[in-house]
């Protein structure tokens, strides 16, 4: 598998970097657009992590909102305990989501196909109900943070700096995922998707490869959860809802499955569509839903061609 062209992803990051660059140059960009793009970047990070297992590994996980919620609720739990430092929150979120993915992945990976989809969905629902019943953190109503998380005491996640921080994190995550997919491990993961039996005949442990991929994806997604909690200054069980899992999948597919940077395009399309249609009518799902059905039925390659990735 050759590495896809760098032109599209670099153009995307350059476009995202325009906001802080123009701001530094004294152009007043305020209000709506940066806020929307912050949300896009957070969800792009979550979708990109899903792309590692869905696109590269071919594992149809319908539960990727779970690590997102775990990351967000780690921030909430520590906030409740008076800890608002990323140097503590981030490792906690990574460990919690990693353990969750290792345990549930070990069960889910015992099955294939339909069962894998249903089991990942069920475990995500378990997280959803578990956090819904945590009365300390607001139960169903969610939890409003006392303050945003600091990074080594610096206010990098405050509203003023959030955009740049999110962009840097997204860029680093993209680099990391590129390195992973190009590595021996990444190639083995793609090989398991293509021909599991052959990989095992080569003496590699397909189960272990897939499990490690699921853990990495969940940990990266938990980073997105930490960002999401700070961006909204609010944590809600809805972050872990199954429709969020579905939305993340839609983002990956729309942007071009397996391309990594396609997640940014997908997140952009979905977030803009929700915002744009939401302004048009409160019944916007009546447009989003049929559009999704029609896209699957007729655009068999999605927007992947536009994204410049493999089909």
């Amino acid at each position: 598998m050759s590495q896809p062209s760098l032109r599209v992803p670099l153009a995307l990051f350059a476009a995202l970097a325009l906001v802080p660059i123009l701001r530094a140059a004294g152009v007043p960009i305020g209000g709506f657009v940066p806020l929307l793009l912050e949300r896009v970047m957070v969800f792009a990070l979550a979708a990109m992590s899903l792309d590692l297992i869905l696109g590269v590994g071919g594992l149809i996980s319908f539960g990727h909102a779970a690590p997102l919620a775990i990351g967000a609720y780690t921030v909430a739990a520590l906030d409740h305990a008076g800890v608002t430092e990323a140097a503590i929150a981030l490792p906690c979120a990574l460990v919690a989501s990693g353990i969750f993915a290792a345990l549930t992945g070990a069960v889910a990976l015992r099955t294939r196909g339909v069962n894998f989809i249903m089991i990942t969905l069920a475990f995500a629902q378990m997280v959803y109900f578990a956090v819904s019943s945590l009365s300390d953190y607001g139960g169903d109503d969610g939890y409003t943070l006392y303050s945003r998380t600091t990074v080594f005491g610096r206010p990098w996640l405050e509203a003023r700096s959030f955009y740049v921080t999110a962009l840097v994190v997204l860029f680093l995550a993209w680099l990391l995922l590129r390195v992973i997919t190009a590595s021996r491990f990444g190639r083995a993961l793609a090989a398991v998707r293509q021909n599991r039996v052959r990989v095992q005949a080569l003496g590699l442990n397909a189960f272990a490869i897939e499990l490690v991929a699921m853990v990495i994806a969940a940990m990266l997604c938990a980073v997105a959860g930490v960002l999401l909690a700070n961006e909204a200054e609010f944590v809600s069980p809805a972050y872990g809802s199954w429709s969020h899992s579905g939305d993340l999948m839609v983002m990956v597919i729309l942007g071009g499955i397996g391309s990594l940077h396609g997640a940014i395009i997908g997140a952009l399309v979905v977030v803009l569509a929700e915002e744009g249609l939401g302004r048009l009518t409160s019944h916007w799902p009546l447009i989003y839903g049929p559009a999704l059905v029609l896209a699957v039925l007729f655009l068999r390659r999605g927007l992947a061609g536009i994204g410049g990735s493999r089909g």
Binding site: L134, G289, L292, L297
Partner: protein, 304 residues
């Protein structure tokens, strides 16, 4: 003790409701190899149609019959328009398209009937309660619901195990290509299974409507519970779905009442009241994990 009996009865009744939903879904999975996430909206649609027809036709019973038929017909329309084109596609495509159908229909009922929860009154003949034991009255309707589930389970078992159509369904589940090579119209078989599955889910929706509030998204949670049932029972197996539905219904209902006491006994202080509910809501998923750890294909796998 009385509490335990009530919880066990409620759990049994939840199990029967789950079975009605899971039965159609597991056959669709098994025979067609089709991932239908939109099965839960059939349940929701059944409840809404039940409310509507009960108002128009004036009564629960006509509402039940008309709504079940309409839900089945609606399922067939969806099959014809959308699902049929997905059978040969990847599981990912099936998941995404049926996810789109859920989004659409959840919003569709909101558009037609509004966001406010609707109510379906119980039929008069079943609206009273009876003396179960000393100091305990139990509603007749809930018993009737459980009995209905049992009867449907029996009928399904008869059809699947004792008729020609059932034989074809079982054969289709184990080797679809061979069945169609033997000259069976597999497309017709699919439609039949799909229509009956959609009708059963709608039927379950009407039956549940007097006990729950009828609102958009009411099918989502039951769909995922039905998935748990199918995973535990083994995809495609009616027998497995029945047993697993009972397990899930009982574990969920009894677990919720017992685990809080248990947490109080093991942990002391405020921690127990916090851990209890969270643990209770996780219980059925832990049961699912335990079953899968021992039997990855479920309790009664069709294909080994």
């Amino acid at each position: 003790m009385t509490l335990l009996v009530v919880q066990a009865l409620n759990g049994f009744q939840l199990g029967m409701l789950l079975f009605l939903i899971a039965a159609g879904l597991t056959l669709v999975f098994g025979v067609m190899n089709f991932v239908n996430l939109a099965h839960g909206v059939q349940y929701m649609l059944g409840a809404y149609l039940g409310v509507m027809f009960a108002r128009i036709a004036g009564g629960f019973w006509s509402g039940l019959i008309l709504a079940s038929l309409a839900a089945g017909a609606f399922g067939l329309v969806l099959e014809r328009l959308i699902f049929r084109h997905l059978y040969a596609r990847s599981e990912l495509d099936q998941v995404l398209a049926t996810f789109g159908v859920i989004i659409t229909l959840n919003e569709g009922v909101r558009l037609v009937w509004g966001s406010a929860p609707l109510e379906l009154p119980m039929p008069d003949a079943l609206s009273h309660s009876f003396q179960l034991m000393d100091g305990l009255r139990y509603p007749v309707y809930r018993v009737a619901l459980a009995v209905t589930g049992l009867v449907v389970a029996g009928l399904l078992a008869l059809v699947v195990n004792g008729t020609r159509a059932g034989m074809l369904i079982r054969a289709g589940a184990s080797n679809q290509e061979m069945v169609s090579a033997l000259g069976v119209d597999i497309g017709r078989l699919f439609r039949m299974v799909f229509g009956v599955g959609a009708m059963l889910a709608g039927f379950a929706g009407v039956l549940a409507a007097p006990l729950v509030s009828v609102e958009p998204n009411m099918g989502d949670n039951l769909l995922i519970l039905a998935f748990v049932v199918i995973v535990i029972g083994g995809t495609g197996s009616i027998r497995g779905a029945f047993l697993a539905a009972l397990i899930v219904g009982l574990v969920d209902t009894l677990g919720r009442s017992m685990i809080t006491d248990f947490a109080h006994a093991v942990l002391s202080g405020p921690a127990s009241s916090r851990v209890g509910p969270a643990l209770a809501s996780m219980l059925i998923y832990l049961v699912m994990a335990a079953v899968l750890a021992v039997r990855p294909a479920g309790l009664f796998p069709l294909r080994s």
